[in-house]
Symmetry: C2
Subunit: 212 residues, 2 copies
């Protein structure tokens, strides 16, 4: 299918719709205005977002059938097309990702971990083997891994990213608070917890410290 | 200090600057144009961002002294004012947060965990005790906790958020992929991994599937 051009904020809203819809009766109907109100979003924005993922028209005054909208959203987000991922850097966060089974619902299979630590290599976490980083070139293809979840220390993140790209990884989900330089063939999506925490702390300051 | 009005994307950039600056020689100088180029940002935006956090002027043709800019950024982000946080929901991700000591550098002390599971309550993770959720009202004040890191299952997230607010928590760092309803006195910052993964998957599709 030809993919429509969708902005990053718009893409980020689709999983929110899905979460919300799954709490509703699947045989009920939901309107864009109801969705917008309950999720604190703009109604016109919600209407446009849904038009992109679903060719079906809603019923006047009722909206769209929840069951079918869920189906269209899941198809759009590729939740039925499974992609294999490896975890690179098996520290506390890396182990949490190996243990967490919930990404399967989002189309992501976490298949194994990679590390340099001999105390970890050769062991398994949640039945997922941990290999030495030196085996990346050899194993990325065999594991059919497209995505790497990067959870190394900051000091080795760029070096690992370079190795991942050379081994054939196409997407890096980067949890290390650093800017990665990769060529244009590779997609990097950053989850920067320091940035998120900065937003939270600042909003708290605005609310509670300014009145001092 | 009176806090300037700063947008969310702007706030999210400050930790990126800091990470970048810490890789430089602290006695060197850096210009807004160099920062912008290396971080793929707009130069005018970088200049404005830095003016907000630092009253010091840069030197013509050299820019700002790295050491002083780091100092100003850390002060602005409150990295020297420590805030106590509790982890609510001690599953794999919750345990990773209890084990991770890195938030200290961002002014956040993770002091203890809360859960409903009797197999966890009474134990410690990384020397941080795990208490029963029923003790929130009793303990939030004693622990001087302002922030809760929410890592419960989706089904109990709203109920826990209500309990946290009643117990006096002012900020919820929400890692559960669900929309929380809280009153305006409380700040919620969402880290939605499903949304982040949707962005990554979509960009991969654009690059690699459209050509099929």
């Amino acid at each position: 299918m030809a993919l429509p051009n969708v902005s990053k904020p718009q893409l980020e809203r689709y999983p929110l719709y899905l979460t919300y819809l799954k709490n509703l009766d699947s045989n009920s109907y939901v309107s864009s205005s109801k969705l917008a109100k309950d999720l604190d979003l703009n109604e016109e924005q919600v209407r446009k977002d849904l038009q992109v993922v679903s060719k079906r028209k809603g019923k006047p005054r009722m909206g769209r059938e929840v069951r079918l909208l869920i189906k269209d959203l899941e198809a759009f987000l590729g939740y039925h097309d499974h992609t294999n991922a490896i975890v690179v850097g098996v520290g506390h966060l890396g182990q949490a990702f190996l243990n967490f089974e919930g990404f399967k619902h989002f189309g992501l299979n976490v298949v194994s971990g990679f590390d340099i630590d001999d105390k970890l290599v050769g062991y398994s976490v949640n039945d997922k083997p941990i290999y030495h980083i030196d085996r990346l070139n050899d194993l990325v293809g065999k594991l059919e891994a497209t995505i790497a979840i990067l959870t190394t220390p900051r000091s080795s993140a760029q070096e690992m990213a370079d190795k991942l790209v050379r081994a054939g990884i196409k997407g890096i989900w980067n949890f290390v608070p650093t800017h990665l330089n990769v060529n244009d063939d590779v997609v990097v999506e950053n989850v920067d917890l320091a940035s998120s925490l900065a937003v939270l702390s600042y909003k708290l300051d605005i609310k509670f410290k300014e009145v001092k």
